[in-house]
Amino acid sequence: MGFEFHTTQLKAATNWARKFSLFQYPFVTACCGMEFMASAAPKYDLARFGAEFPRFSPRQADCLVIVGTITERQAPALRRIYDQMCEPKWVIAFGVCASTGGFYQNYSVTPGADQIIPVDVYIPGCPPRPEQVLDGLMMLMDRIQRGEGHSQITIESEKGYDVPLASIKPLQKGG
C-alpha cells in the first residue's frame, strides 16, 4: 500500500468541521432549562456531538440555543445577543415557547423567537425530551453539512469553485 490519500472539497471539509464544533450560547429563560441541563449532562451527553462547550459570551458562540419563553420585554436583549454573535451562526428554538409562544397567548409573550431573529431548528415539546433535543441538534448538523441555514455563509462563489473565507457573502433571504 504505502501511499493513501483522500479527496474532498473545501466546502465539505469546512462544514464537517463546523458541525462537530458547535459552541453554544444557552439563552435559558424558563423551565426548559432543566431539560437542557439533562441533555448536556452525562446520561444524554451533548458532548458526543461536539456541542459540549457552552460559551457565556455571544461573541464566542456559534449556536444560539433559545431555551424557554421569550417575553416582549426580553426580545430586544435576544436581538442584541444574536447581533453580537459572529458569523457563521445558527439558532435552535428549544421547546414550544421559544418556537411559537406555546400556551402563552397573551399581552406579554412573544409568539415565537422567530419573530425576533431567524431560527434554524425548532424543537417542540413542553419541555422536549433530551432525545428530541439530540434529534434537533443532529438535524442542525445535517443542515450545516449541506451548507443550509439562514445565516450559513456559502463558500461557493458564482464561478463554482471554493474561494477564500475573507470574500464570502451571506446567502440571500430564503437561500
Partner: protein
C-alpha cells in the same frame, strides 16, 4: 379563626369606615371604605389584640360592570397571634386612587407597583410608582377586563427587508 380582628375593627371604627365584614371557609374578611384604608391598616398593625405585623399580599380585582369597578385586596398575617385577615377596598374607574401602604409595611412597595402596572390603580404617596413587569413603553393596563385579549405591543420585530 380570627373573629377578634373583626371585633376590634368594629369596636374602634364606628363612623362607617368598615362597610361590611364576613367569614368564609374559616377566613375573616372586611370591606373598608377607601378613604380610611391607611388608618385601618395602621390600627391593625399596631393594636395589641391584632398585631398584624406581616404583609402577605396585595393585589387587585377588576369586577368590570360592578361599581366600584376595582377591588384592592390585602392579605395580612400576625406572626405572634398566628391569625390572618383579608381586607378589601373598592376603587372607582373614574378616580382609581387609594392611599399607599408602603409606610406601614415596606413590603407593599412592589405589590402596589404591580397593581398599578396591571390594573392602573394609583397608590397615592407611593415612593416610586413605576411599572414593574411591563416595559415603560407599554400603553394601558393589561389585566383590565376591557384590555383587548389579542392586543400586542411588541418592542422589536424582525425587519422583513433584512438579510440575517
Amino acid at each position: 379563626m380570627a373573629q377578634v380582628i373583626l371585633d376590634r375593627l368594629k369596636e374602634r371604627f364606628t363612623a362607617g369606615e368598615i362597610l361590611e365584614t364576613g367569614s368564609q371557609h374559616g377566613n375573616e374578611w372586611a370591606r373598608v371604605r377607601r378613604e380610611d384604608w391607611r388608618a385601618v391598616c395602621d390600627f391593625l398593625r399596631d393594636d395589641g389584640a391584632t398585631k398584624l405585623n406581616m404583609f402577605i399580599d396585595l393585589t387587585c380585582v377588576d369586577r368590570f360592570v360592578r361599581e366600584p369597578r376595582f377591588d384592592v385586596v390585602l392579605h395580612l398575617y400576625s406572626l405572634e397571634k398566628k391569625h390572618r385577615v383579608r381586607l378589601y377596598a373598592g376603587v372607582t374607574e373614574e378616580d382609581p386612587t387609594i392611599d399607599t401602604l408602603v409606610p406601614v409595611w415596606p413590603g407593599a412597595n412592589w405589590f402596589e407597583r404591580e397593581a398599578y402596572d396591571l390594573y392602573g390603580v394609583r397608590f397615592q404617596g407611593h415612593p416610586d410608582l413605576r411599572r414593574i413587569l411591563m416595559y415603560p413603553e407599554f400603553v394601558g393596563h393589561p389585566l383590565r377586563k376591557d384590555y383587548p385579549k389579542e392586543k400586542r405591543q411588541p418592542l422589536v420585530r424582525r425587519d422583513p427587508g433584512r438579510v440575517d
